[in-house]
Symmetry: C2
Subunit: 417 residues, 2 copies
Amino acid sequence: MGLIVQKFGGTSVGTTERIQAVADKVKASREDGDDVVVVVSAMSGETNRLLELAEAVHADPPARELDVLLSTGEQVTIALLTMALEQIGCPARCYTGAQVRILTDSSFSRARILDIDAEVLRDDLQEGRVVVVAGFQGVDEEGALTTLGRGGSDTTAVALAAALEADECQIYTDVDGVYTTDPRVVPEARRLDSITVDEMLELSSLGSKVLQIRAVEFAGKYRVPLRVLSSFEPGPGTLITYEDNEMEEPLISGIAFNRDEAKVAVIGVPDTPGIAADLLGSVAGANIEVDMIIQNIGQQGLTDFTFTVHKRDYETTLDLVQRKAEELGARQVVGDDKIVKISLVGVGMRSHAGVANTMFKALSDEGINIQMISTSEIKISVVVDDKYLELGVRALHKAFELENVTPVAELEGLSES
Amino acid sequence: MGLIVQKFGGTSVGTTERIQAVADKVKASREDGDDVVVVVSAMSGETNRLLELAEAVHADPPARELDVLLSTGEQVTIALLTMALEQIGCPARCYTGAQVRILTDSSFSRARILDIDAEVLRDDLQEGRVVVVAGFQGVDEEGALTTLGRGGSDTTAVALAAALEADECQIYTDVDGVYTTDPRVVPEARRLDSITVDEMLELSSLGSKVLQIRAVEFAGKYRVPLRVLSSFEPGPGTLITYEDNEMEEPLISGIAFNRDEAKVAVIGVPDTPGIAADLLGSVAGANIEVDMIIQNIGQQGLTDFTFTVHKRDYETTLDLVQRKAEELGARQVVGDDKIVKISLVGVGMRSHAGVANTMFKALSDEGINIQMISTSEIKISVVVDDKYLELGVRALHKAFELENVTPVAELEGLSES
């Protein structure tokens, strides 16, 4: 008899029929002998409906009141799910974030969880009840309602699992696990039985939308056993692990890509200390987030400096940088928003220097020119022309044989060059 | 500089446009120099929408979860109204019932307010903010969300006004005050500038739907100056008073009527002690509420016993009483659900014995037969055939000259007979 935290997102509770299906699933887990805490999001569409109401009365709805408004979304779901559970003879009780209580800081609309007092839930569990908790929301020290931002229900689930020392935190979504890459791009993409938390972090931040990145960070910090699985189809999903057993790690876990970035390059800028800070300072000052940053070795006292931003910030960034570049006496500023970033992710690559070479060769064999390269311990990212997205991802998926479950040993040959 | 509590019901906040209109009205009060606390209901239609969701997942939705569900309705409104106020430069802050906190008992769906800790609101008022509070809801000692039942927002407003010792509690509705009778029946019906709380109680309980009866009781208990006025039209509305200055009281304040009752008569029942308890016991046991009760003086050891119930309980009551009447050896049981109750209400009638006679004569002049009569200190009710409703109410309205503002002195002649 263990304790499981199950989280169901907006699509999984999008209609009263789906809420009833979730109730059946929760009841089945309960009957398997586990205590169950359920975390739910707002019914899909509800948050947008509420946002439209807000925008009808305020041009730029204040975050404090927006949190009061949006937190009703999950409150509706917890009440309905609890009713559905009681209807099928499964005793249950529901709690808002404030009732639990999930203490957060006062950063309305993007609050961070500071503490959870889950003792009240233990009493319910001991009395044989399923506990249903509103995701995405909390309360600050002064009693004001807060929300954790979109996707925050994942964080609520992980934080509750940590506080209750749950045996597993199950995140039910509309996909049945984490894949080696997007199956819409590569039909042979394979569901991973497990993935390390570091890999998951790289995959999440690179645009795989399965899990919210803060939830994964949280899970890593408290080593909460986390499983991603489907609300709609049976199956074991993907387990996120913390053990770093290198011998059993596959070389590469997956391939992520991101179509949302644009590139800005400053060419021929005097190579003096502080150049990067100067160039990026104006961009950061406009609250624009920068992703990849590359500076090449300078020649003749000049250097080239390239970075990527979100496409929506492209024009603004180009303007800002052009002005700054003139000041600095740079030769030229060029930009390109027709790019895509493709990333190989895998803890296994740390000890296999040849991975990069295999990657570059696979792309070159398809005639794909690499515009930028950036690497970390467990990731290699390249920027290429966006027309090469599908071709590039497929070539890499094949080169690293991700369609097969392949032990590391067989892939050793790849690291030669 | 005073403190006003203003309550706006579901129709008054039924759309975002109406919420903006309420914000304008609140801001104007604020600019008149008063501190303002606003209590709002759920947007009209919202409660029904939520109830439908509940009924889709549970055949008989449990009250505890229903309160969690329904209390989201007002939470949406407080957030939107606060945003609308801030948009027009009127600083505001909103609170749920739990946040205030409005402590209630644990009778989910019909909780009673036990205590209000309004201190947190005083800080906001002192800092120049309008305070927006969710009506209809509270929290019990264990932190569970409760609701006060439909119309409970009036009670919230009055209770807050009492706790804050407000100078006036203004209930904004879709009518512009309390009328001498229903203007749809008597076009000459006149808005009353003021009415005593006792009269208001009689009018409320008799079916005038302007104010929730519990709110009026509450106002009476704490002597909260209460005013009913229109959300949509300007005007002073009707003030509910507590002073009992008989010389200035009009004889009759208004005429109420109720089409929802049915009559059951037990004829020729042995006139022994305990007969009433015996007959009514079986009805009360089925949780049926009895309104008027009349027992005539018996002849030849027999008596007639008549009472009224809500129309929806008519068939059940008739069954129960027929069985009991047989046991008691009564001669006959007759029922009639084609009746209407018409009531004259006025604190002035206490000292004017002729009122009843004037009433009976006015009805008789129109050929209206009176089936039952019941009187209290400030009320005379008669039951007549329901086809006489309009005729009867109009005749009485005219007989007591309710279309004019008439000092008591001029009406003295009426009490002759």
